[in-house]
Amino acid sequence: MSTPTPTAVGTATLALADDALVLAQRLGEWAADAPVLEEDVALTNIALDLLGQARTLLSLTGDEDELAYGREEHQFRNVQLVERPNGDFADTIARQLYFSVYQELLYTALAAADGQTAPLAAKAVKEVAYHRDHAEQWTLRLGDGTEESHRRMQRALDGLWRYTGELFAPLEGLGVELPALRAPWLERITAVVERATLTMPQGPDRTPWSAGAGRQGVHTEPFGKLLAEMQYLHRAHPGASW
């Protein structure tokens, strides 16, 4: 592999930052709205972990506030999976399962790769291991729970499946071969899904129009609303602080 250009490294770091930032914002929407108080705290705790990762990663590429609050939709490089709406609790858990297993594998690889993101990855992989555990625990309970929870969890896994292919599209400048992570990812997801008495989704893991689209700045419709909510304060009062 040839040495990546500094621009490519910056773009790859920004992509990871945006994944964490956007998912943090999505999970934050559960604040005061989760099925139970305990889960409210669990989900927003995960959101805060991700926000911390996003801040570190954004700071590596520029001014974090400017990047988080000043960019427009097409400038964000996150995968479409993380911007998908929370839906019901099963939808959120399915998204968490797909993403946290991926992120744990990715951070483990990054920590060993010795790039500029290695220190962050080495620290954050412990946080992500907990996120993954949380998602697994709930997948098992919803899948192997009541008839309704089983049905909803299966629907959630199926519905988000077509956003998972994008996770493993090559990302120049990352220093990690993302396509190589798909096999271990699939193995882990399958193990959890089967233990939860659920069925692995069968359809394609990407659609022609969405393959790698988020990484190119093409996002799904709900993303605009998320961004508007995240950015309006900064846009209305630039430089506002506590």
């Binding site: 099925p35 139970v36 108080l37 305990e38 889960e39 705290v41 669990a42 705790n45 907990y130 555990d133 949380h134 625990q137 309970r141």
Partner: protein
Amino acid sequence: MTGQTSDAWPLWEVFVRSRRGLSHSHAGSLHAPDAAMALRNARDLYTRRAEGVSIWVVPSTAITASSPDEKDPFFEPAADKPYRHPTFYEIPEGVKHL
């Protein structure tokens, strides 16, 4: 809905051992569907500001507590027996760590 869910989930008592503490102390209680989730909820609710290094969760129903009605027979007799406190002894010189 929230009320129903919480009612269906049993209550757990949480004990946390702090970084320098020798024993677990009661931190509070929470709802969880089972012991494994109770442990995770406890982690999120009671140790997120680095309060602990070990957690126990116990079903609240497993705890037998003294009743407020029994307070006098239980605890009153101890109140007027100061000689049970080891304050009447002079500490011999040279005894350390006492």
